[in-house]
Amino acid sequence: MTAHDPKLSRRSLLTGAGALVIGFHLPRAARAQSGAGAAYRPGGNAAFAPNAFIRVAPDSTVTVLVKHIEFGQGPFTGLATLAAEEMDAAWSQMRAEHSPADVKLYANLLFGVQGTGGSTAIANSWEQMRKAGAAARVMLVQAAASAWKVPAGEITVSEGIISHASGKKGSFGEFAEAAAKLPVPENPPLKPASAYKLIGKEGAVKRLDSADKARGKAQFTIDIHAPNMLTVVVARPPRFGGKVASFDAADTLEVKGVVDVKQIGSGVAVYANGMWPALKGREVLKVTWDESEAEKRGSAELIAEYRKLAHEPGTVAGSHGDAEAALAKADKVIEAEFVFPYLAHAPMEPLDGYLEWDGQQALARFGSQFQTTEHQTIATILGLPLEKVSLETMLAGGSFGRRAQVSQHLAAELAMAAKAIGPNRPVKVVWTREDDLAGGYYRPLFVHRLRGAVKDGKIVAWANHIVGQSFFLGTPFEAMVVKNGIDATAVEGANEIFYEVPDFRCEVHNPKVGVPTLWWRSVGHTHTGYAVECFVDELLQAAGQDPLQGRLAMMGDKHTRAAAVLRAVGEMANWKGPGPVDGRARGVAVVESFSSFVAQIAEVSMGPDGEPKVHKVWCAVDCGVAVNPDVIRAQMEGGIGFGLGHALYGEITLDQGRPVQTNFHEYRSLRIHEMPEVEVKIIASTAAPTGVGEPGVPPIGPAVANALAALGHGRPRQLPVKGGTV
């Protein structure tokens, strides 16, 4: 049994005599919270809804219920840090588990629904979890004060030990039961930053999940087994928008281990006793597809269309001065067109989900990133009231945006697969890597056409036409991000830039294409960061300016945090210009994303095989208060590797609408020998913390491209730089 054993987890929510439960949530939900402690029924109560963030067990372990999915970016550790800090708990007593799906208690304060994304976990929970911890501490202290008959103000807490000058000492567990009977304080005081023992302290906190993950003990969705469970793989249309016309399952049903075959909304589902028979069964399944409404354009056709569109007026996403007039009178217009391919997220754990139902109630267990909408989708498809459906969030093997599904297609497929086979046959739907790469929901293909002019050493005009699909227009999420017809995620980072250019314009086209697309780690910044930071570098070069000093000069005094990370990274790398020196050149880029600022310098040479070699990356990040410095470093390292791998090699190509790359041998992923050395500096800050899961990604591509320009290879106009292997 491990900390992540699903059975134990669920049981432990229901049992554990003498436990203290602290709830603290949205102010408007404060009424519901006031009875959180009293509502907990030691000894187990099947109707118990764990409407709480903190649970103290009789053995003094403190379990933080985390509403954000943990898929590597560190919310288990981060949110536990916040709670532990205010509780004055010892780190060794801290645990973390996913909270259940419950929008009333666990909505993301920035979304209004329960969900993870936009690098918001720490930003959202900064106040919430500290207050939850502080409330717990107040109640434990009060319980001890009552028991010891001393004033609460004389009691201290350190490393999880409650003590009084009289020599009395006690653990959290000893006072949990008594504390649970006390009222929850409305607005418990928070520590001043000067008193922090864990937040921002190097080495004070280790990840809560490392030990299990190093020992194969962490439980992911794909690891779920249940009696009578069927493994399900689905044959999906080879082109997007295709439908099942007919199918012949005779050969499939002959495969030993195959139990049944059913048509469901997303294709034809093969049910089997285990993955291998399911795959063998699907291999011999004969499906005729109706492709009358399928998307049949390939990447080449789309790029050609987008290029044309980039010359036509679009929706204005940003404008000041008169860029067209300024360009018209410029001595020379510098023009650059950048093409970005479709990209797959390819999380190591492919999409999967588990669902059991008996016709009356259901339990879904999977790496749900948008619990609220997925919960509703499953209930709707199964025809059950929401309260009869439980959704347990599992650890997920990466996401990079893939599990944050606007369409809820995985939850829907899971529910449809369960419904089609009928009650009391638990199903585990598993996607293969081939399903994943051919399955769409890609980072959209984008074209940026940039024009600019320089005069007297300065950039005087800037115009950018952006063309690419919106994955929000026409979805339930549209209201959240689409304003005045502009999908903010398509233009973020490009419609406003750090650099003071007197005449500026940014226009966007969102053509309709039948390829499902989705946000991909750092969303719009995946392409705008590259286009903007390559083009500014190119213009500065034309203006005879140093890439780093030139950027700083154009930032004026409005972008102090961006300027600060840029200066910091310059100092780290001992920047003396791009070079090259001894065959190695340096490129710089700085991007703000999700309210965090990241500047990177990449040192690059060209390998004998024509592949760029990135030797070292210096990275300065300002994400406000650094809650877990080592998690921030890890996210910068990982973001750099993820961004670099895709900039160099990543591409999903469509050939007449069909995805070409089928697995990692064609969708080339960064490997250890291609990973640069990384040095990270975290800028000290007192600003409220912002995200780190995504912001490490955008600068690396343009930093490498700018170094390649210094090496004489130009800034690659079409990504990936090297290409995959197809």
Binding site: D609, F664, H665, R668, R671, H673, T725
Partner: protein, 208 residues
């Protein structure tokens, strides 16, 4: 290197014993989809023995320069893969005995037989040819000289060479490379016959 090669060859002998029947059955056939080889008999109209020997070797060259052979006779340390001869991913190298680097031997992925569901080729002694037998980038004439050179070919005389190409399971694999790969031209038996005829006609090499 020489010792390693010889010990590897000894290993081959053991492998063959176990699979002789299979090989005997398959030597005259090959996986469909490959190009053909001219039969030995079709060279009999070349009256000059040396010219005939050269012509026979040029015909053998179709096999030797085929991706099935060339991919694992690389010039550098890293093999290529597939009919398009792309660099092997992951990055694997010859290593100290031709079986890969410490921690990532060929056998980590390549089993004793092809595994067609995943399109992974396999053989009892999947390995890279020794550096002395690098063919990549070489003309057929150079490969010919190299093949005959006992300092580079594992101390094989002509008879041993013929025996090698007609009995070594890894050589014979080229005609049964599994799903997704084009087999070497002709059949193993035809190739063996060409080589025997080439040896019998003085093992002459094309002019370089």
């Amino acid at each position: 290197m020489r010792t390693a090669l010889l010990s590897a060859a000894a290993g081959v002998g053991l492998c063959i014993a176990g699979t002789a029947l299979t090989l005997a059955q398959s030597a005259s056939q090959s996986q469909p989809g490959g190009a053909s080889l001219r039969p030995v008999g079709s060279f009999s109209n070349i009256t000059n023995q040396r010219d005939r020997s050269v012509a026979l070797f040029n015909e053998m060259g179709k096999v030797l320069t085929h991706p099935r052979c060339m991919n694992c006779h690389p010039a550098a340390d890293r093999p290529r893969q597939g009919d398009i001869r792309k660099l092997h991913e992951p990055l694997v190298v010859r290593g100290k005995d031709g079986h890969g680097a410490a921690g990532l031997h060929c056998s980590a992925c390549h089993g004793k037989q092809n595994f067609d569901p995943a399109r992974i080729p396999g053989d009892g002694h999947w390995a890279l040819a020794p550096a002395s037998m690098a063919w990549e980038g070489k003309a057929v004439a150079q490969i010919c000289e190299q093949l005959k050179d006992q300092n580079r070919n594992g101390s094989r005389d002509l008879a041993a060479l013929v025996r090698h190409v007609t009995t070594d399971t890894l050589v014979l694999w080229a005609w049964h490379p599994g799903r997704g790969r084009e087999p070497a031209p002709g059949t193993a038996a035809e190739f063996g016959a060409l080589m025997q005829a080439w040896a019998d006609t003085g093992a002459a090499c094309p002019a370089s």
